[in-house]
Symmetry: C2
Subunit: 222 residues, 2 copies
């Protein structure tokens, strides 16, 4: 029985963290909204899920990206089965979720419901402090995880770095020297056979200006 | 062996969600930084935990509030033992975590490292949209969970409502009519014997202007 993933069909966004795990494991899944449109989510939203992504596995509806990965990890061979190690990896994944929210808020510090142009001045302030204070703190923290035994957390770190390179090419270029292991992780993950096939396929939606990672020149000073 | 909770000793903050579970269950625990100061966290921060709160249970170090509650829930009798139901409750808890971050960002939309006064105008905008769009969405979502079988999620909903009443008394007063079950939940939780004893004790740190829930008259129009 394939897994059903529900997420916006035109962006990588939070759903991509789940797609990477399913693809790397070669798990059978349907990206439901890409097949049937976003209205397929309606019967779940506000009920079993506050927002997307959510995963449907038989009768089980699992909301929240990190929760989905906690569930899938051990089942797909992307995490050990012992509870202690699963909790540890989940703690890392939840910290990635926090990091991702901070990235989102660099371009939408006031409200997701307003346009970027309506919150540009606040975005400039928030992005500058994010790049100065928060990015190095997260990078340093995950630098130590880069070398660990492979797990779904590494797929998510790959996605974070790829996204950050898209959104903040100048800042990330400056980071290359300091966080070598973390940045080298990207090549290692991208070379995994099933993942490489996925990244080269049309199933991989390109990063774009509607997603969580967005490139605005004024937020990333050279 | 008592649990060791590490969190800031002078605010409720995220740590309070863990304290409520430990107190309601009558579990033996030490609030380590209140006994030994915040430097007790140093050997864990940036290593096993990116930030506090984290819980130490024997050799296990568990970071992230929702992760801690996932771990404690079934052990303390505050969640069923079946995996499906644990994942469902965890999904709710992670949504509470998102809600809490949005509450925090109403007064600190630009950066946690700046004073409120330095981001007051952005805070005013963010708080207005939060109260108009996001608060009703979260309240409506959790209104349906209020009646469910008691779990640690209800303790966290109690904390959210108490905090929101402190921060936004006018907005919450207007919400009383619409989200009756959720708001009634507060009284039911507060009447649980062990929790009532905790709330009346000096262990319960009062809500204050250094925490996540803060009252600024200009963010909560009458």
């Amino acid at each position: 029985m394939p897994y059903d993933l529900y997420y916006w069909p035109s962006i990588q966004g939070r759903g991509e963290f789940v797609r990477l795990a399913l693809e790397d494991a070669g798990a059978p899944y349907r990206d439901v909204c890409r097949l049937r449109g976003v209205s397929a989510m309606d019967r779940f939203l506000g009920k079993q899920a506050f927002a997307c992504p959510f995963l449907v596995a038989g009768k089980l509806v699992i909301p929240q990206t990190a929760n989905i990965l906690y569930y899938l990890g051990a089942r797909l061979g992307l995490a050990p089965k012992g509870e202690n190690e699963r909790l540890r990896l989940h703690g890392l994944q939840l910290t990635i979720a926090d990091w991702l929210t901070e990235v989102h808020d660099t371009h939408h510090p006031i409200a997701a419901s307003l346009y970027y142009e309506e919150q540009k001045s606040a975005a400039r302030q928030r992005a500058a402090i994010f790049l100065d204070e928060r990015l190095p703190k997260y990078m340093a923290y995950f630098e130590r995880a880069a070398d660990e035994r492979f797990s779904y957390v590494h797929l998510s770190l790959f996605q974070m770095i790829e996204g950050l390179r898209y959104a903040f090419p100048h800042a990330m270029h400056r980071a290359e020297r300091k966080y070598k292991k973390l940045l080298r992780l990207v090549d290692r993950v991208a070379a995994r056979p099933r993942l490489a096939a996925y990244l080269a396929s049309e199933r991989r939606i390109p990063l774009n200006q509607q997603g969580i990672f967005r490139r605005y020149a004024e937020l990333d000073q050279a």
